[in-house]
Amino acid sequence: MQIKTMAEYAASGETPEILFWVGCAGSFDQRAQKITKAFATILDKVGVRFAILGKEESCTGDPARRAGNEFIFQMMAQNNIAVLNGYEVKKIVTACPHCFNTLRNEYPELGGHYEVIHHTTYLQQLIDEGKIRMKEGGTFKGRKITYHDSCYLGRANDIYEAPRKVLEALDAELVEMKRCRSNGLCCGAGGAQMFKEEEKGTTRINFERGKEAVETGAAVIASNCPFCMTMLTDGVKEQGKEESVQVLDIAELVAQQITQQ
């Protein structure tokens, strides 16, 4: 596989169909890198001409903004917008709902206007268009999968169905947690909590959510966010279920099931 950067596309005078915005977690976090690789593999198999920004990508500024540091947010945002506009980027797909929310809702008023799509929505579109075909009688057929709505895809942007449709395409049995869709319980990472210790309480938010997810009896917890991934993985461990319950990103599930095109 040859993953090209925007700079390489520009140098050859070509334009990619989409920019894959990887995000910091997807770039640096070892677990999230697997999600990144899974999604890149899918794009490659489907034959989508995509680019990454590579070293030119910076944090969108989301955690700084939510912690209260608007200066750092504005520095990141304005730099990113300068880079994106410089390449005349039109369409961005990202596997991180925090990046998705910031790029989609907060960059326009700073001069960054793009069509921004979360990778679960993009996967659903590729399935609907028949570009992704799943293996017959796949690994997940009939197995119980529960889906964790991330706050920044769900409540923040009202996207609840696309990820579920992707899961349905896997022929898995989708079992919902009691708190799902707009009632979904946070994993505990949002609002820059990912980067600090939780405040004093009776339990951790990810333990609470991990317990709820494990109680569904599902063998797989599907997530759509690298931060939820970290939190839920720890939550499942706390339940002592790391052997029997896997936490996987929707892109990883699809990557396991996609046929060689």
Partner: protein, 439 residues
């Protein structure tokens, strides 16, 4: 005798309306202490919110059983107002059941409907009292309700039950008098709810019945006028403010944070210093919110619209896991602080520093730092309140005005600034995964 009653009624009514409008103006002034924001775009979408969220109580139906009971109480209260119009006109004109001759056969049907609603209000309020005080539903019994808020809730429910009982007793006595052929009580036919109870009263002499009917009439209408004036001091103000609050609700995706144009401009000048020459030197703006006047007027309207139901807090992941944060308390604190500032203005004519601020004297840093910005509180609120907006503005003040952040956040800030990522990673390694894949 009748003229004295008329006179007393007009005086009581006048005083009630005067006191209410005076307090309403004070609340309006308190709300306008907040900074200005433009929330008039897309009127069609806003009216739709008023219809669905305020009139239709759409979000209440996330819990259908409670929603139905609440709808009875709400519909009862709104529709019985038509009856109150008749009562007020009767009071002013010294008449009795002014609408009866006009409406003819429709009148007992109308009153019958009101009576059914009154009975439903009564049952609803009784169940709500049980939920609060006997079943002790968790969200209705949390710490921030200790003291006045808990009593406030019970007073409201008890008052509504008392008003409905007075209304129904009045109608029962009225029908007994009709049966006795009392000249002042024209025949209207039996009412649906109280009709079967008339036999309880029919043995009483006319004088006693008139005394019962008049006492109930007076206590009922005086009770309503008193209740009207209780509203602005109570969480129950939501029955009025839920409507404008739905209209002014934020229409943008919930994930979008409010931009700070002052910071945007400053960073722009830093990144493109060549623009600085043309830029006028502005005042140094305040960053974030420390006290009520730094918040927007919508935040303050939110605070006055809150009826402390606690759906936000029951859905808050921080609160569920035992953290100090409670979105409901954020709203209650904001209102308390606005009231304190308002009281000072009422006394001295203007607001001067009183050594207190919303941040710290009311809302602690620990509460603010527990928030995951998950928007569950915003999603849940049936009357379109946004506690998260207040939390994020207070956080902005903490970080940008006071440099007050947990050590880990300071590290995250400097990592983003230096490495373009919240972790201490080299920017050169950002595409390492791709290099690995390219092989």
């Amino acid at each position: 005798m009748l003229i004295i009653q008329e006179l007393l009624f007009v005086i009581a009514f006048g005083i009630a309306v005067y006191l209410f409008s005076r307090k309403a103006r004070q609340i309006r002034r308190n709300i306008l202490l907040g900074r200005d924001v433009q929330l008039n775009d897309e009127p069609a979408a806003r009216w739709q919110n008023v219809l669905l969220l305020a009139f239709g109580q759409k979000k209440m139906f996330r819990n259908p059983l409670v929603a139905v009971l609440h709808f009875f109480v709400y519909a009862g209260f709104v529709i019985i107002n038509i009856e109150i119009l008749e009562i007020i006109l009767d009071g002013i004109l010294g008449r009795h059941r002014l609408f009866a001759p006009v409406l003819g056969g429709l009148y007992p049907v109308l009153i019958g409907c009101f009576e059914i609603l009154a009975a439903l209000v009564l049952i609803g309020c009784a169940i709500f009292l049980v939920r609060r005080n006997i079943v002790k539903v968790k969200r209705l019994n949390q710490h921030e309700l200790d003291g006045w808020p808990r009593s406030d809730a019970n007073y409201i429910l008890i008052t509504e039950i008392a008003l409905m009982l007075l209304f129904l007793t009045m109608n029962t006595a009225d029908q007994a008098l009709q049966q006795h052929g009392h000249e002042h009580y024209m025949a209207t036919g039996a009412f649906w709810v109280t009709g079967p109870f008339v036999s309880l009263f029919s043995g009483l002499p006319d004088g006693t019945l008139v005394a019962i009917e008049r006492t109930c009439w007076w206590l009922h209408i005086l009770g309503i006028l008193a209740f009207l004036n209780y509203l602005p001091y109570s969480k129950h103000l939501h029955i009025i403010l839920a409507f404008p609050n739905a209209y002014y609700a934020d229409l943008r995706p919930k994930g979008k944070m409010e931009n700070m144009p002052a910071v945007q401009k400053e960073v722009q000048l830093m990144l493109q210093p060549e623009l600085a020459a043309d830029a006028p030197a502005g005042d140094i703006p305040k960053f974030g919110a420390k006290d009520v006047p730094d918040l927007t007027w919508k935040n303050l309207l939110d605070a006055y619209s809150c009826t402390e139901c606690g759906r936000c807090t029951a859905a808050c992941p921080a609160n569920i896991t035992g953290k100090k944060l409670s979105p409901r308390k954020i709203m209650m604190d904001t209102r308390d602080r606005a009231e304190a500032i308002g009281a000072q203005i009422a006394k001295t004519g203007s607001f001067t520093e009183d050594g207190k601020t919303l941040l710290r004297d009311y809302i602690t840093e620990e509460e603010l730092r527990a928030c995951t910005s998950c928007n569950a509180c915003v999603q849940e609120c049936p009357v379109s309140i946004n506690p998260l907006h207040i939390i994020l503005q207070l956080r902005r003040h903490l970080v940008m005005e006071e440099s007050s952040a947990p050590q880990e956040w300071n590290m995250m800030f400097s990592n983003i600034e230096n490495n373009m990522a919240p972790w201490k990673m080299s920017p050169d390694d950002r595409d390492k995964w791709a290099v690995e894949m390219n092989g």
